[in-house]
Amino acid sequence: MNIINRRSFLSHASTLGIGAALASLVDIPLVMKRVLAEGAIGQPGPNGRVKKLFFIFLRGANDGLNTVLPLGDSAYSATNRKSILIDSDPGQPFAAHGRALFPVSGPSTATYDYAYGLPLGNGFAGLHPALKFLAPIYNAGELAVLHRVGYPRQSRSHFDSQNYWENGTPNNNLIQDGLLYRAMVESGLANKLPLTGVSIGSSLPLILRGSKAAMTNLTDPTRYNLLAVPNTAAGNLKADAALAAADQARFVDKRDRNLLSLQYQNLASTLDIFAHLDFSEAGNTFVDDEATDGDQPYYLFPTTNEKNGGYIRAKDTQKYVVPTSAYGHFQNLKSAAMVLNKTSAIVAGVSIDGWDTHSKQGGATGAQANLLRRVGWSAYALQKYFKKYADQCRWEDLVVVTLSEFGRTSIENSDGGTDHAEASAMLVAGGGIKGFQADALGGVKRSAVFNCGGDADPIPWQVGPTGSMFQAQSRYLKRNTDYRSVLGKLIRDHLGATPDQLTRIIPGYANPAESLAARGIQTADKTEIIGEPDLI
């Protein structure tokens, strides 16, 4: 075990010229000033607990049209989507109103034996069948499904568009710090608490990067300690002491030295915390409290075949809930969940790569379906983990949100895939969100499907060959919601930012030309959007 004392480091860091000043066009107040701080981000609420956020970034651009399916649109057809169309079930009319369909497989049939769109009960939309484990969350009133999300003058470059989602400033690559980083800075707790924003993955994503406070990325939490020669307890202490002493050394200010200094400090201050969490496979004992799929209670975090759905009972690979290639993702997901649940961290997130389905995208099964299974089960697992195993964070304190940089072409290309396009879908789950409500007759009192058919849509989905699917550039699904409205709503009404803070976290949030807070026209490309969806 390695213990490095937290060192008086900030005085040193502040003598280094903050090298990224040029990039920081967003004015952020000094992070240490909690005395003057406003807002409630990171502050315990009436229940004594802090509101937290979990993000899952679907990198590569998820095909929103094959995620939340516009089953009621005649343009969502085999003509336009030759090999990838998800049909609606002749026996389960999507036009009916009520709960979302949850096809329970039971012990003997394949987990994903249902190959049609799952009606969402709003008379129009359906879920990809690989997302079937979202249905119980939806029916519990804890999931909102948003379609047609994008931003003005949508870039169809992955790198641009991921940048914009992460830095919170569409069409501006000069801002090189992240939206959630700024939220953590606004909390006044970054650099005070050892952990505020955390990602688990190969590297720290832009959404959590910034030059004034170190957010934390863990590549492999089970290996999070240092080694030494000789590799004994005393040897480790000696090596760590040498490193700590060297870290205090002053040097000429140069590009990147501030970053190194911050992240070395972050390393030192987090080693001890993570040493006390059991991230090992043996520690992965989290199991569902009910047999949701009609089989038996499944492990929440499938990281081995034995923990993958109903496989353990019959060694039947058809009973997997996720593909075997997803185990790394569920390691990360479990670690991120544990960090949120057991530490001071306010925001945590993971990424799922591989959504750039230019060829062989597949339909009810195939490449995209395999990725969606990860998403559906991830949301389900998080819901159950934060209900059954809650410690510092309960499901009602948490919001889980998916991000993806853009959607894909409405028409399939010659390779059985789809190319880069505009608006896509977003999923928001949590114990405190305004979800689906059934009425006394089993119908719908409140739908939680936004922007995809249904009577409540402020800007209706237009159907047919000149409808919504082709209204952007005459080729792509057109947005009617800005991703910043969704994240802004969550950061203010869930995490607790003040309106003033929100304009610093998301620059331009209060600008009427952006129409982020309330319905209006975004003047950049004269597109009407709904403002904030009524999520929470």
Binding site: Q176, N231, V252
Partner: protein, 836 residues
């Protein structure tokens, strides 16, 4: 050439102070005095800011204005402050002077950090000797250097064995556990737990310089053994041990009766050298009779040569990890370091993804291993083609772009392989988009969505085919009809029975035959009007040029020319010149270069000026050759003030690849016998994976791995970097060793013996040696704090608290070796070693 530059120009400002006032103003450029404080006892502290590449800070004092400034003995510099007793009544003036690295020294170290994967001990000496300009000239003309590491087969390696134990019976046995042979030399057996050079050797004829048969007695199974000059560690002869059958005891060994003073109650240390060779399987035993000292080393050795890997790669039988190992070994060992840096740069710029290619061939009908071999071969082929192109003095960017476009790995990666633009088919936009955004113009730089649609049509039909080997350069060839097994009757034409190579293949039937207008402006209805013009921000000679292209409707195989015409056009547009110049500047200078400068601004930054100079060199080469010559652009960068300034060194963070390779190079010196103080078989990919998923040849996203620090540095990835160096510095067998490469062995004690034997027992001198090796550009005076940490580390026991003078440890002992390993690892875990 090592004469330091005495920075008079920087010393020409005064700092004046009246005793009793706190602080003083310093004017001008660094070095900067922070202030003077005088305590009640009259002790003044003059503190100042660190300044780049300073080897010595001098604080000079004058008692009054007009008096001469002088260094006096009343005070000393410690770190970034001067302290001295000036008395309570005195007033004074202080001046700070800095002695900096000479320009030649500075450029030499910057070059070693940027155009090579970091200095090795030998290269540091060599480049300091020949000077930076000769080194640069050599690296810029790799075709003139014979670096034969791919064709020199791995040789045998002398290995030293050290074993301690009790004496038991006074007899020494040597034998193999099977038939086989090896060479042995320079035995020593001394009393005590370490190989103390002061103690007498208890073995006779220990160097095998006189005949066998008297001191050394030979059993029948070893009768073919003899003294030999063929392979010698020391002296002129060694024992060539030839075993016809396994040995086990005195009667089946070469043995020697030791003095009767060797007794079971005492501890002894045995050392000897043996020759390990690739491919050997037998084990050697050298032991004392009974239960005394025993050593059983393997005669086999892993190979640190890229040659066997190169053979597999050219034969198409290599797996992806072979390619990665080859790439590592080249990066570590090659003399052509700039070539290796650029090899990685182009590989990463024209990124392709091994596993996507493998999946493609897996789906096509090959088994996974074969699909992996084909995909590895395709990655290797494009890499080799770039490298061969880079050996031509007038190589252009277009040459490299063409290789990338024709590479089956790219055709699969960005989905042109199945793209059809004929009839009602919509051509796949993936390659068209990334060609503009990532390979040539740069994101949002001179193209829009309509251009991408047009370009994707130009590229429709670019596919691949398994063709006969003499047809790989013929894009119209049909599938090969050569069979691996011509006697097969059913399904003889299955892919797995076809002999040939996968190559670029043009399928004209899939091509979009319509009119195409690329880089046009459009009216409100989306119809093309006139050509796009180069924006005003580029200034002369580019601004205002019409760079549109029009293609008439056409059919047939000649339409393959359409795409070639496009890249020939795009390769030398100002957008490409700008984007590639920016990327090369980020690679060699620092991360802070952007596309989008207004080159017509009155006020420009040095970064903008350098990009502009690169673009002009690209546009108007001084040798009159083709546009886009890479060496012309590189010359501009390497000769720029930005590259050569004092502040320029150590301002980039190493990528995982650079970190791993530079850490091994830093300690790798050649011994007189041809072996090295660092051995690695190149199996290091795991470390890159842990440090941020840097999977070589297998990047999923087409933007390649980032060059910037932000993309790599976080607590988790730093932890993995630190674990790697600690593991690498561990001796074989220590728990945790595999984190630094199970087959990576570093010998810092050997390095000290080789390069700084006089410093071997002096903690201060050892610290100085390694600080210079690891941080040569930082300036000695700026490393005072690291030096204090290092000296303290060396003079402290492994428990971390007990004082234990390094001078008291015996070189060669385990304690000495462990202390030194720990120190080097500690220095390499510091922030400054993350930089290049």
């Amino acid at each position: 050439m090592n004469s330091p530059s005495f920075s008079l120009h920087r010393a020409a400002f005064l700092a004046a102070v009246v005793v009793g006032t706190l602080g003083l103003t310093a004017a001008g450029v660094p070095p900067v005095l922070d202030g003077v404080q005088v305590d009640a006892g009259g002790v003044a502290t003059v503190s100042f800011e660190p300044s780049p590449a300073v080897t010595e800070y001098q604080v000079l004092r004058a008692p009054r204005l007009g008096a001469a400034f002088a260094q006096d003995s009343i005070g000393t510099v410690d770190g970034f402050a001067w302290k001295g007793s000036i008395g309570t009544a005195a007033a004074g003036f202080f001046q700070l002077r800095t002695v900096e690295l000479s320009p030649a020294e500075l450029t030499a170290t910057t070059l070693l950090q940027r155009i090579s994967y970091g200095p090795t001990p030998d290269e540091l000496e060599r480049v300091r000797g020949i000077g930076p300009e000769a080194f640069l000239a050599e690296q810029l003309a790799p075709e003139l250097v014979n670096d034969a590491i791919d064709t020199t087969p791995p040789g045998p390696v002398w290995r030293k064995v050290t074993a301690s134990g009790t004496g038991s019976a006074p007899k020494l046995y040597i034998y193999l556990d099977a038939a086989g042979e090896t060479y042995l030399d320079d035995f020593r057996l001394v009393e005590g737990a370490v190989d103390d050079p002061g103690k007498p050797n208890l073995i006779q004829n220990a160097g095998f310089e006189t005949a066998l048969g008297t001191n050394w007695l030979v059993s029948t199974n070893l009768i073919a053994s003899a003294l030999s000059p063929d392979q010698v560690h020391g002296g002129s002869l060694a024992l060539h041990l030839v075993s016809t059958a396994a040995g086990s005891s005195e009667t089946t060994s070469i043995h020697q009766n030791l003095p009767a003073t060797v007794v079971a109650s005492k501890t002894y240390t045995l050392t000897y050298w043996y020759l390990a060779q690739p491919g050997q399987t037998a084990h050697l035993t050298v032991r004392l009779s009974g239960s005394g000292i025993t050593s059983v080393p393997s005669l086999a050795t892993g190979s640190d040569s890229p040659a066997p890997l190169f053979s597999k790669l050219t034969a198409g039988t290599a797996a992806i990890n072979d390619l990665r190992r080859w790439h590592f070994l080249h990066a570590i060992q090659s003399r052509l370091q700039l070539t290796e840096i650029l090899r990685q740069f182009w590989e990463n710029h024209f990124v392709t993804q091994y596993s996507k290619t493998r999946d493609y061939f897996d789906n096509a009908g090959y088994d996974t291993a074969t699909a992996g071999n084909i995909s590895t071969w395709l990655e290797f082929q494009e890499n080799q083609r770039w490298n061969q192109a880079m050996l031509r003095p007038d190589v252009t960017f277009l040459d490299l772009l063409r290789i990338s476009a024709e590479s089956p790995a790219m055709i699969i990666y960005l989905d042109t392989v199945g793209s059809k633009g004929n009839g009602s088919n919509i051509a796949n936009e993936n390659y068209g988009r990334e060609l503009c955004e990532l390979f040539t113009f740069g994101v949002d730089n001179g193209y829009d969505q309509q251009d991408i649609v047009q370009i994707s049509r130009l590229w429709s039909g670019w596919s691949i085919e398994l063709v006969a080997s003499n047809n790989v350069a013929n894009p119209f060839a049909g599938r090969t009809t050569n069979y691996l097994d011509p006697t097969v009757v059913t399904n003889r034409s299955a892919l797995t029975n076809l002999l040939g190579s996968w190559a670029f293949n043009y399928k004209a039937a899939n091509h979009n035959t319509g009119i195409k207008k690329v880089f046009f402006q459009h009216d409100a209805a989306g119809n093309p009007t006139t050509g796009k013009l180069v924006p005003a921000r580029f200034g002369a000679p580019w601004a205002g040029r019409d760079y549109s292209l029009t293609y008439a409707a056409a059919t047939g195989t000649n339409t393959v020319q359409e795409a070639y015409r496009l890249i020939e056009h795009m390769a030398n547009q100002p957008f490409t010149e700008e984007f590639l110049s920016v990327k090369l500047c980020r690679l060699f200078v620092h991360d802070g270069f952007q596309i989008g400068y207004d080159f017509t601004d009155d006020v420009t930054s040095p970064e903008e000026d350098l990009v502009h100079a690169c673009m002009l060199a690209w546009e108007n080469p001084t040798n009159g050759g083709p546009q886009g010559q890479l060496r012309q652009v590189l010359q501009v960068i390497f000769n720029s003030d930005l590259f050569r300034s004092h502040g320029a060194s150590q301002q980039k963070v190493k990528t995982p690849l650079e970190f791993v390779v530079s850490s091994l190079r830093a300690l790798r010196a050649v011994r007189p016998d041809g072996s090295y103080t660092v051995f690695t078989d190149g199996d290091l990919s795991f470390a890159l994976s842990r440090m941020g998923l840097m999977l070589l040849f297998d990047r999923m996203e087409p933007n390649g791995y980032p060059e910037s620090a932000e993309g790599w540095i976080s607590a988790g990835t730093l932890a993995e970097r630190l674990r790697f160096v600690q593991g690498a510095l561990m001796p074989a067998g220590m728990s945790g060793k595999s984190d630094g490469g199970a087959n990576t062995v570093i010998d810092p004690s050997g390095l000290v013996q080789l390069k700084a034997p006089a410093a071997a027992r002096d903690s201060g001198a050892i610290a100085d040696y390694f600080l210079d090796l690891l941080f040569p550009a930082e300036g000695k005076a700026n490393l005072a704090a690291y030096r204090a940490v290092a000296v303290h580390f060396l003079d402290t026991a492994d428990d971390g608290t007990t004082a234990s003078p390094f001078a008291a440890l015996t070189p060669g002992s385990t304690d000495y070796d462990t202390r030194l390993r720990g120190l080097v690892a500690a220095l390499m875990t510091t922030q400054r070693f993350q930089e290049q």
